[in-house]
Symmetry: C2
Subunit: 113 residues, 2 copies
């Protein structure tokens, strides 16, 4: 029956950028944070996550370094760049604007003049 609740396109970048504002983290952790914060309403598949991370890095919004994770394992830690912070602000503003616009349609009770 098709997909019931996929992530809306473009939102994943915003979400990742935001989670990285509370410090660098590796992909696995980022996915965990988002899931926990949303009570698993938002689930990030690895097939979406890693391409997204690479995309962000390619655009200069995050940079990565290999370190050891909390579990003593090799992990690539991603950190927000200044450009990334700027991008986050822009995307967050666009998101708010978009949600507001959709709400206007959803809450309208009559036809526009």
């Amino acid at each position: 029956m098709s997909r019931s609740m996929d992530l809306l396109q473009g939102t994943l970048d915003l979400l990742i950028l935001k989670t990285l504002t509370w410090g660098p983290g590796h992909g696995y952790a980022v996915a965990r944070w988002i899931e926990q914060l949303t009570g698993s309403t938002l689930q990030i598949g690895e097939g979406s996550l890693y391409p997204a991370l690479h995309r962000l890095e390619e655009r200069g919004w995050v940079k990565s370094e290999w370190h050891l994770s909390e579990h003593n394992r090799r992990a690539k830690f991603y950190a927000l760049t200044p450009k990334g912070r700027q991008q986050l602000r822009a995307e967050q503003a666009a998101w708010t604007q978009f949600v507001t616009a959709v709400a206007k349609v959803l809450d309208a009770t009559s036809l526009p003049a």
Copy 2:
């Protein structure tokens, strides 16, 4: 520089379904309503609109009939079906849930435990 403010995937269906709750309308009018309600924040290209309308009809959420428009021109009027109303309820609920989940991430001030 890529797209700045495209419609988020899946939202268009919801928007169309909603506009049709205040009566049948043809594609052109639906696009107008949405644009006017949102002060042109949301703009529906015809290359997105008509495929969407056909998609909705194919799934039995709307049905269409040819009539004359307010401007005395041939136009295909789309109307919500009972299944469409049900679908609208479902999509609206999913949308709310999604927006709420994103807000949880965006508003979080610290790492989850």
